[in-house]
């Protein structure tokens, strides 16, 4: 293969990889409409143990910082909807739930582990990608959320 076409192909691949994860026009996460808010996107599943820790924390976050413009969006990747519903019945969250049973969003955002959360600032830029959830993470994450909320 000649050098120039190969370089162009490589550049195209890099460009594609760089834009992967950005919202398309038919975005179930509805991110374009959420511009101006700080969005916390969390990928969760009923079978994910740490998610049982993160849900109360996210509910608290939504409740406390919702008025300041925080929107928590929890994306469920369960194959079986009833398992997700069972989990939701247990925690009764009042933040938005998006269902991604086919893993389209998970693939688009190249999840490296479960759970994974993304913190998006008011301009729609991803500021933080956090894999896993431990009790020790709560402080730092809350602080990042607070910082982003301060920017208007």
């Amino acid at each position: 293969m000649k050098l120039l076409p190969r370089l162009l192909a490589m550049a195209a691949c890099v460009a594609f990889a760089a834009t992967a994860g950005s919202a398309g026009p038919d975005d179930p996460l509805d991110l374009p409409h959420l511009r101006g808010n700080v969005v916390y996107v969390d990928f969760w599943a009923s079978w994910c143990g740490p998610c049982r820790q993160s849900f109360p924390w996210m509910a608290e976050l939504q409740h406390k910082y919702g008025p300041d413009g925080l929107v928590v969006v929890a994306v469920n990747v369960d194959h079986e909807r009833h398992e997700a519903d069972q989990f939701l019945r247990e925690f009764s969250p009042d933040f938005r739930i998006v269902y991604d049973a086919q893993g389209v969003l998970a693939e688009r955002y190249h999840l490296k582990g479960m759970p994974t959360s993304f913190l998006i600032d008011r301009d729609g830029k991803v500021q933080l990608e956090h894999v896993g959830f431990r009790q020790a993470d709560r402080e730092a994450l809350t602080e990042r959320v607070r910082t982003l909320l301060q920017n208007h």
Binding site: A45, C48, P50, H79, A106, G113, M114
Partner: protein, 76 residues
């Protein structure tokens, strides 16, 4: 026309391609719902597991290698 140089190049490319090894095997992190089940865990029976480990250590004079395999939810 196949000569020694061509054969060497083909061999080089083939071996480079194999460098990715088993990296594409296995499920994605968000597809581990079945693996997360208790009966799918590799250490579902900790007592048996520790006995097996002890026997292995005694016979092999070495231990370990029982890293994160296929079981479990893979979280955190």
């Amino acid at each position: 026309m196949l000569n020694a140089r061509m054969a060497a190049m083909v061999l080089l490319v083939a071996s480079l391609a194999s460098l990715q090894g088993c990296s594409t095997l296995g499920v994605k992190p968000w597809q581990r719902d079945l693996l997360a089940r208790k009966d799918m865990a590799l250490d579902a029976n900790p007592v048996d597991g520790s006995i097996d480990d002890h026997i292995y250590f005694s016979k092999e004079a070495a231990s370990g290698g029982k890293g994160f395999g296929g079981g479990g939810c893979g979280c955190n």
